[in-house]
């Protein structure tokens, strides 16, 4: 039941020492929007704890920058205490972390806090996976989800900050599902997106586009962890273009604790209407919501009387607009074959964050 879900959402833009980012706060606000949506996460507003960089008029001194690890950990402890006292087992815990990050181990990922600095990162971070595993072991939740839109570059000399509460192993641990923007020792990327051209993390764009209709849904309108992972992986691959030489492509990594556990995302059909009056989204704070494009635009220009045909492998697709010298198609996500009357052919992929398609033909 969604009313038993809880969430911690962290998005850090302002890093006085490490160099500020553009996307994480926008990504965090958008992810919170999905959490609160009746047809999305459907999490009660009071159960969602948001930590984003304040709108500083001027970049503060590094030691004064927020948010900090201890602020988040204090909330962790408050929730832990509340759950222990209530004696009620909750359903799902979401941990969403976005900002500068690093990994020391292949299976770890940590979010650097706003007051982290070069040579001063040993305690100024939140170890995402360690906390997710620790929450899972508290057995207060059935499920723990961790999404991290952070780099996982290796910081060799940084000691990991251990979780602030103990390993309270008792009953069976919760199932866990982890999604990382990049594989270990690799960087994640952000770019301008949407009508406002705000900076957004590509992983979070893909994640939310998948949750909001891009990924394949079952009969109940829910998205499985498999279809979500597949969608995000291919969305990011399509979006992360213009790599510099020697730069490896960004590859998201998803890890369920149990391949047999049926993870479902989004409220099932019907539940949204039931709870809509109770849960009103807080508003995304001026952030363009990440949704899959209604359609992608393919435009080709003709010359010398050449003509074009487009097919999706099942049928020919007539252009939406055909003016003198121009064909324009509005295409749903998918793969297409573009044929020119002189025999030339090009494959077209409509997908990813860019709505206008470029075809070298």
């Amino acid at each position: 039941m969604a009313h038993e879900d809880h969430a911690f959402v962290v998005g850090i833009n302002t890093y006085p020492d490490l160099g500020s980012l553009g996307g994480p706060a926008n990504d965090a606000l958008d992810f919170r929007e999905w959490l609160l949506a009746p047809d999305g996460g459907n999490v009660p507003r009071d159960n969602v704890h948001l930590f984003v960089s304040p709108a500083y008029a001027q970049v503060p001194p590094v030691l004064d920058a927020d948010p900090r690890a201890e602020q988040i950990e204090k909330k962790f402890l408050e929730l832990l205490s509340q759950l222990q006292q209530s004696g009620v087992k909750a359903r799902r815990l979401y941990l969403y972390l976005a900002g500068h990050g690093f990994s020391k181990e292949v299976d770890e990922a940590a979010l650097l806090m706003a007051n982290a600095a070069k040579g001063m990162s040993t305690i100024l971070h939140i170890p995402g996976r360690a906390y997710a595993n620790r929450w899972a072991k508290t057995a207060f939740f059935d499920e723990v989800v961790l999404f991290m839109d952070c780099c996982r570059e290796d910081f060799k000399m940084t000691q990991p900050r251990p979780p602030v509460f103990d390993d309270i192993s008792g009953n069976a641990a919760a199932e866990t599902f982890f999604g990382f923007a990049a594989k270990w020792s690799r960087a994640s990327r952000e770019g301008p997106w949407g009508p406002s051209q705000q900076m957004r993390g590509i992983f979070t764009l893909g994640l939310l586009a998948g949750l909001r209709g891009g990924a394949t849904r079952d009969a109940n309108g829910q998205v499985s962890h498999i279809s979500l992972a597949d969608f995000v992986y291919n969305y990011v691959a399509k979006s992360a273009v213009n790599l510099t030489p020697n730069e490896k492509a960004q590859e998201p990594q998803f890890t369920p604790s149990n391949l047999m556990h049926a993870w479902k995302f989004n409220a099932p059909n019907g539940e949204a209407a039931e709870n809509a009056a109770v849960i009103a989204p807080a508003g995304a704070g001026g952030v363009d919501l990440a949704v899959p494009p209604a359609f992608y635009v393919l435009t080709v220009h003709t010359n010398n009387g050449t003509t074009y045909q487009l097919t999706d492998g099942k049928a020919q697709i007539p252009p939406n607009v055909q003016a003198a010298g121009t064909y324009t198609w509005h295409l749903p996500q998918g793969y297409y074959k573009l044929l020119r009357s002189d025999g030339a052919m090009a494959w077209v992929e409509a997908g990813g964050m860019k709505e206008t398609l470029d075809v070298p033909l």
């Binding site: 402890l77 990991p160 149990n258 297409y336």
Partner: protein, 464 residues
Amino acid sequence: MSLSETQFSVDAGADVETFIVSPSYAVLQRGVGKFSGKLTPGIYKVKFRRGTVTHEQFFEIPAVATGIVVLKPSVPLMYESAVPTLESGATDTSRKQVAAARDLSRRTQRSASGSNIYLFFHRNPDAPPLDLRLRLYTLDEQLVGDMQKNAECDDAANPTFAALSTDVPPGAYRLRCGDGDDVLEQIVIACSGWQTQVFLTPQAEEEGDDPTPLAAASILMGRDGFDPANPLLQLAEAARVALRYERTTMSRELLTRLVNEKFESPMLGIYAAHALAASGTRDPLLEQVLDTLESQVPGHPDVAALRIGTGPQVEIDVPPMLRSSWRAITAGSLDDSVHIQEGSLASRLPASLWPGTPWLLWSQRDLLPLLDTGDVGASLSEISAALGTAADAMPSDLTNSEEALFSYLVRRSSSDFTSSLESLERPLDDRAIARAFGTTVAQVKNTVSGLAGKLRMTKVSSSE
């Protein structure tokens, strides 16, 4: 077969993974090597992955079936491997390197039950010069091989390859790279009747990486020297890369092949078994492979690590070769399924290990000192008592591990947390700290003793 479906057939190398992706980005089918299936008409994306290289292409299943649709990579899938093969390029240099790697590996006088460690370091002519500061030691630090002094090279002034073959008794050996304070170290296991072959190549600097040839080493085992034509070579490399990137599709297929075919490559089995074990599944196939590995290479710590938690307590004194083995050992040390012998090299491994590699690599200067750890509980009590004042008088000579432990204990004792923690508090002992830091109990004991000793010295200095 449904009337609307058409058969397809993937024609790819034995070490190539193939993924077929639908227009909605769902992975419909996947496999390794050659396999076949059925799809409805439409356009699909196929992704071929070999080692570190991925290639995507599109294909169409026609609405009107015209026979089996064959999918194969439209470009060669070449990737850089430390193992010299003819496939690495058809240049004169690469051909000479392959021949040298093979010929020099056969220069051994080991008996049938003896063992040999073979190091082969090579580069492309336009790559940086080889850094030959590679040395092989016994566990008690007796030098047994020095590449700088004894390697065979093609050109002494500017070699494109260097090889060193050392007959050794079976056991564990320390392979070191570098000099002075900058020495990285790993373990290489020599097994009775086998040659352990370590292939190295200089690493290109990538964003955020600090290259060392040890990190991307390829380690194989053979009985009759290095055979570049061995078809299992590519599979062994595929398995090593699968382990590096935690890919399980390749591992499961390789294990199946190992069980079905003659099992002649223990390292391939070790790689595949570890990659599969890392997925969290306890596959019956894994058990069959472990039984075979234990008979082929008895006592190998990376094989022993795969038994942790499934049987009697595993005794560890020698560090394993693989990082994944060490993770299993670390976890096992918390619930007594592993016992790390006091004073052994394994007990002295630092918490900070070299990242970005499937090998267990550490900086030699970070090895923990041999300490009489004494009563750890008493040391912890001593530290806790000192914390109230110690925050202002933190010793300045703490190691990274000691400083991290100090910060952790100070945080736990701060007033912000104690009120919330009261109802949740459990005894703080060496296991709890090891669990918190993701390290071994042995490492925690060493760190606690070291920190207690230094706090004691600080207190003594302050009172003088």
